[in-house]
């Protein structure tokens, strides 16, 4: 199954800018991007490996395809190319409901919905939300999001920027939110982490532009006891605390021999049998979140509380580190 993400947001929120950056800078993945307006995609000629009308192949392994008349046909065409892909990113049109676009990934057994990321224009959003023609469209787009990227934060004054943040947090209190400028968001936040689990003791540097790396924190939780399914589900439903992404191998009570793959993008998460089963019995989850609100110690305690309470298990251990410094912070979970 190929993971598929949807980038939504109203006209002018920065979707094309974000996509241009992903394509230009690469993201360590063979990424296919489906865009509405081919003309707006600005790819350096030196990066273009081939161009066949509806598709541009890049030297970094990425593809950029035009959606044209039909997204379904464009996706089908992409799948028929039978090129190995790590991830598909679909750009929803400026007026589309990205959740409906994401339905395609839920319908097609060959695809797995990774997440719906909705970009918001910090300067215009407050006016858009109350606009008589498009207010409901913009609200619907954010309603369906797994994560908000509040873009263009350099444009409003500090005071206006605060008001925007307050307004979005009041309207969508459970929706993880990243602020940025120039639509710059690390690929590790936008897309399912590409590689497997990092070595727990090594710093997990986000492939983020230096000016944004400081905004994010990566942290790994490990435990030898299995999770109790219900408490884990409840915890993941209300994770909060600035967690934007999580991925890992999880063992559940009841079937401790079956490794489960946990994926989390904003408020969306899934647990499915791990394609490469590793019956180690050791759960490992990497979290990526906002540095100013992710509290590893508190989160570790909540995660530990979702483990099966049984004697004789070794304590889980958590390791946290700040990407720019690599300074680890370790703590026992119980």
């Amino acid at each position: 199954m190929t993971p598929l993400s949807v980038i939504g947001g109203f006209l002018g929120a920065g979707k094309t800018t974000l996509i241009n950056q992903l394509l230009a800078e690469g993201c360590g993945r063979r990424l296919a991007v489906l865009v509405n307006d081919f003309g707006a995609v600005n790819i350096d000629a030196a990066l273009i490996a081939g161009h066949d009308g509806e598709t541009i192949a890049l030297t970094n392994g990425c593809l950029c395809c035009s959606i044209g008349d039909s997204l379904i046909a464009a996706l089908d065409g992409l799948q028929r190319r039978r090129v190995p892909l790590d991830h598909i990113l679909v750009e929803a049109s400026g007026v589309a409901d990205p959740a409906r676009v994401a339905d395609l990934a839920r319908l097609d057994p060959a695809l797995a919905l990774d997440g719906i990321i909705v970009l918001v224009d910090a300067e215009r959003i407050r006016g858009q939300l109350v606009d008589r023609h498009i207010g409901d469209t913009v609200r619907r787009q954010i309603d369906g999001a797994d994560m908000i990227v509040l873009n263009k934060m350099d444009l409003p004054s500090a005071e206006a920027g605060r008001l925007v943040l307050d307004e979005l947090r009041r309207l969508w209190p459970d929706l993880p939110l990243v602020t940025t400028t120039g639509a710059r968001v690390p690929a590790a936040i936008l897309l399912e982490p590409a590689a497997g689990l990092p070595a727990p003791a090594a710093p997990n540097r986000l492939s983020a532009p230096a000016d944004h790396a400081a905004q994010f924190l990566s942290w790994c939780f490990e435990a030898d006891r299995p999770f109790a399914p219900q408490p884990l589900a409840q915890l993941l439903d209300r994770l909060g605390g600035g967690v934007l992404r999580a991925k890992g191998t999880v063992f559940l009570a009841g079937d401790p021999a079956q490794a489960m793959l946990l994926q989390l993008a904003g408020r969306r998460w899934s647990l499915a049998p791990h394609p490469r089963s590793e019956p180690s019995g050791r759960s490992q989850i990497v979290f990526i979140g906002l540095r100013d609100s992710l509290r590893p110690t508190a989160l570790a305690a909540r995660l530990a509380a979702a483990l099966v309470p049984r004697r004789g298990h070794r304590a889980g251990a958590a390791t946290a580190f700040w990407p720019e410094s690599g300074r680890p912070e370790s703590g026992a979970t119980e």
């Binding site: 959606i67 339905d103 839920r106 319908l107 409901d136 469209t137």
Partner: protein, 548 residues
Amino acid sequence: MGPETTIFAARKILTMDPNRPVATHVAVRDGRILGVGERDQLSGWGPHRLDTRFADKVLMPGLVEGHAHVLEGFVWQHVYLGFYDRRGPDGRIWKGLKSLDEVIARLKTTEAALTDPDRPLIGWGFDPIFLPGRRMVAADLDRVSSGRAVAIIHASFHVMNANSELLRRAGIDASTNVHGVVKVDDGRPTGELLEMAAKFMAYRALGEDVMAAGNSPAVLRRYAQVAQLAGVTTVTDLHSDLSEKTVATYRAVTAEPEFPVRLVPAFRGYGIQEDGVAKLERLRAGNTDKLRFGLVKLIADGSIQGFTGRLKWPGYYNGRPNGIWNIAPEELKGILLPFHKAGFQVHIHVNGDEASEVALDAIEAVLAEAPRRDHRHTLQHCQMADAAQFRRMAALGVAANLFSNHIYYWGDAHYAETMGPDRAERMDAVASAMRCGVAFAIHSDAPITPIGPLFTAWCAVNRLTASGRRLGEGERIGVADALRAITLGAAYTLKMDGEIGSIETGKFADFTVLDADPLAVPEAELKDIGIFGTVLGGRFFASPSAPT
């Protein structure tokens, strides 16, 4: 020897020309009308051949369908399952199916004739709104075939039904958790799919996107056939990507002497990767008598019966949330402007009154920046425009092409669900458009409803719903006005009123040959008048029922 002249004699000729509203003879030379009048008034043009095959018939200007789609020619590859009788491209009347059992029976008959076991069976035109009782489920279609994929596309094109085999092939089961996959209480899909899920399944069954179906020569010929049988001589294809392949097909097929209509495609003017103005200018330079490029189509909102049209306050009668934009309101002006400046005519799909308002705002803004006389930008469907919007349209020089067939097909649903009684009564307000001085046409939007301008005229005149309710007495118009709407009125919205739409000297010799005089039959029978055939550029195309 001079040019060949034919004089057609008819029982009556309705010319739509106020100078000579009625005549008995029309002279034709080189595919054009040489003169209209009595025979002796025309004989001064010299030697001629008198053609009396229409001697007991009534001639009208060739009917113009200002809003339909080539998709009509595509769907007839598959079996028709609608509630109403519908005439196929071969002239055969497919009886409307009045129960689920009748639908299954027709599918079984069709299935039995299929030889390739891997070929999916596809039906179209199904509309459960008219079938009381339970909804169709996968088990119903499993009775048709358990091994073959069966897909039923609803009349709206936004809903479909699948059998178990198709669900299995598409990988849709109880674990599929998607908006649009209708399920029973235990989580199993019923086989009914909505919106994106419907599009996805239809694509899986057809192997192509039904709404972007390829315009093969066969599809285009079938489309022209259906139009011709309905008495149409000029037909639009009102939303096309005009890809090189499509254009090549259009050029080749319309050039065939036996191709029975003039085709007017509209270019989808947004989301395009090329310079739309340059492309249209290039295409227009190659226009022929039977193929006319130059229209641009934009789609602003969705449909009212699908609750996707954009409505002003108080919105949908049943409380459904407001519809969707297909183009952001703020984008509209920017998309319009280059086409407007280059002298092209833009047709904008607007169903709800919020969409028509936004479209008028955009046109007004464009005109303020680039004043232009006689642009004839046209609001298509324009189903909810009120008198104030029609006054704006008149002031801005905007034409309207109203969806009168909706009164019949969805009038009851508009009354009960979408609009409520009072707003339903002023939908497709043809009389208001007339009172406000808006140039207007009326249309079918085939294949959404069947192509048939006389039926559309009947809808505008009678305003009767399928259940027989009179919807909006105050918006009825007279037969003469309705006939004008399906000839000169539609021709005006295509900027072809100098060439078609009336029987006047110099225009194309395009006629619709009727068995009865539409001005003489009772209003209620307007839709039942037999169509004997059509004449295109002086050449007769018989209906299958008529002797050639």
